[in-house]
Symmetry: C2
Subunit: 388 residues, 2 copies
């Protein structure tokens, strides 16, 4: 998922939570570990490099090389910044070490392929998935690519990422997608992470169905992605909840039927008035106890709470009330298993994720892009694009 939704600036400290890696996050096989040594002949590129907590630099780094036969090297055309990159910069993700090139989203052109890559050739226009998948482990065979035993979320985390001139993509055949001719490249960048995250972990896990009343708590990039993709399944009411009036106004233009600002109104009371006995689906797209609590308050018997937010601390689950309510709660890191389907919907103009982009920067303005994205509420930013 690699998600962050701004819940207004005063909540930023709570919101930019640390990502605690679970017990099954393993050290990747040497297959995906990098061992590029700088020598006199090393090709150089620019990259946004993590320099330890609070520090980053747009600087010269070695251009990646093929390390395994299943690798591809991709020249980056466009990338973006994710809330998780802000987490990392705060020092909240200790598995990211100093010197790491950040970024796990982007589109590009295949520069070079390993000898075992079959689906792509040099010059192909590709979408980079935020999730790397080997395609042959137990989890990949269940389409749970997020838990791939030789992949998962590694880009800009355990190996160098996409905020650079080039990126090495392990297991390229399973971790890249061809971009259809004529497709909007900026829209494609939204398909690396946020659109499949909102769709899979919010809408599909929440089992949104025709006629349903759904609430999305948090109108940041992920909440907005859930809003856009929920409409595939024809819910009758989509209630958007956020403390930022600008985002609520944008949500209305994206298809929200109702908006609620919890600083002005009592969410549970308004939803009780608007529904028979609560919402069918509540999508948590912030990652703090307060927003999870809203979901617990507004869910109807038989309803689904789909947690999408990245949480930094535990929440108080009201089982003394909910044990009898026949509800379902789901969690998850995006699998990107619906990326091919989302590609088709973008191609047929069924959805226009480029509407989420509010700001554009050149590569050498990436430090400005971080400044704007890091102050999203003040800057009225949703997603930024970086590319030449």
């Amino acid at each position: 998922m690699i998600v962050l939704i701004f819940w207004l600036e005063e909540f930023m400290d709570l919101c930019i939570n640390g990502i605690y890696l679970p017990f099954n996050f393993k050290i990747m096989s040497t297959n995906v570990m990098e061992a590029v040594k700088v020598t006199e002949n090393t090709a150089i590129m620019k990259g946004l490099v993590y320099q330890g907590p609070g520090e980053k630099k747009w600087m010269d780094v070695p251009k990646p090389k093929i390390l395994a036969p299943t690798d591809a090297v991709v020249k980056i055309l466009k990338t973006t910044i994710c809330g998780t990159d802000l987490h990392i910069l705060k020092g909240d993700v200790p598995t990211v070490t100093k010197g790491r090139v950040l970024g796990h989203e982007g589109v590009g052109i295949i520069e070079e392929i390993g000898t075992a890559v079959n689906n792509f050739k040099k010059g192909d226009h590709v979408l980079i998935s935020c999730i790397t998948s080997c395609g042959k482990c137990e989890y990949c065979k269940k389409q749970m690519y997020s838990h791939c035993e030789d992949g998962g979320w590694i880009l800009g985390h355990l190996i160098d990422g996409t905020q650079a001139g080039f990126v090495r993509i392990p297991h390229a055949d399973n971790s890249l997608y061809k971009i259809p001719a004529g497709a909007n490249e900026e829209a494609m960048v939204m398909l690396s992470d946020i659109l499949p995250t909102g769709h899979e972990i919010g809408v599909i896990n929440g089992t949104v169905k025709p006629g349903d009343t759904i609430a999305i708590i948090g109108a940041g990039p992920i909440g907005m992605s859930a809003l856009l993709t929920a409409q595939f399944y024809s819910p009758s009411k989509i209630i958007m909840v956020d403390m930022d009036e600008n985002r609520l106004a944008v949500a209305k233009t994206f298809g929200a039927t109702h908006t609620i600002n919890p600083t002005k109104d009592d969410v549970a009371k308004l939803i009780a008035k608007e529904t028979k006995d609560g919402v069918d689906v509540a999508i948590e797209a912030v990652g703090i106890p307060q927003t999870f609590d809203i979901c617990q308050e507004i869910i109807r018997p038989g309803g689904h709470i789909a947690n999408v937010g990245v949480h930094g601390k535990s929440v108080d689950l009201q089982l003394q009330k909910l044990w009898i309510q026949n509800i379902t709660i789901t969690t998850g890191l995006v699998n990107t298993n619906t990326t091919p389907m989302l590609l088709k919907t973008v191609e047929s103009n069924g959805i226009s994720p480029e509407k989420l982009i509010t700001h554009r920067f050149k590569f050498d303005q990436i430090m400005d892009a971080y400044e704007v994205f890091g102050n999203a509420a003040r800057e009225k930013a949703i997603k930024v694009i970086i590319g030449d």
Copy 2:
């Protein structure tokens, strides 16, 4: 569900939690409210009557009458005691008022039917469902009978129950089942509540599949029911967790492949050794924070935690670890929508729920039955049967 699993005597205070009714528990329509006044001509029967916290009495009460055309009056042949009855007696369920006849399980013979009852006639041998369902509200149409808008769990709660000579069953056509000729009557009593609860809220909600490794936390009547019904779906390993060695030994004879006593061994460590990275399904069948925590510790990525226990307080949900684990947590009161299916499996000898019965009493020994069931660990009791 109306469940209680003993987690050893020292845990009894924690275990016998109050049932907090959720906001959508409504006062039933007059259709199901009782208005029997004792007059000179009132027929009398014996019933186990709640006399306020800590007090109960086997005493004369008015025999129930048909109050609505959809009612039936059933003569009780066999009934049992549920953990929920102990909750009520502790005063934990304030919606149960003084004078209420307890009990929501049993089998009997139809004594009288209302003019709108079509599926049954006087003399029919019937199984009483713990859940009453009108069959025509929104929830009934979704087979969520537990949330029936004119029913749900009302027997021995909002209207007089089955621990008596006779009981009035509202919406009889939807709330009773014909007992097949030659069926074991004691086995049928297990189908009123515990077997469908273990099956629906544990096994089906947990989506137990062939080859799965499952853990059942709590080897009381509901945990044992989950153990019996899980075997319909051919899991490869069933790990039973309880602090009571006697119950673990019984669980082995019922099909558990492994047992763990948390007072002797570290459950999470043993399960980590026995599995690749945790269990596919964890069924919580106790209802206290400690046992819910075990489920959170042992669940693998993509796994299901099926909460069956009746909780009296909130639990600390470890979302800072679980957000990324792609897990599903479910809760629920039994719908009894699988009762017809369970009836067939008992009829074909696919399952023998009468194995759960450890003690038998006559109706006039019901106070002794409560004494034994209230000290289940000491008495090595699982389920008791009361009947002449």
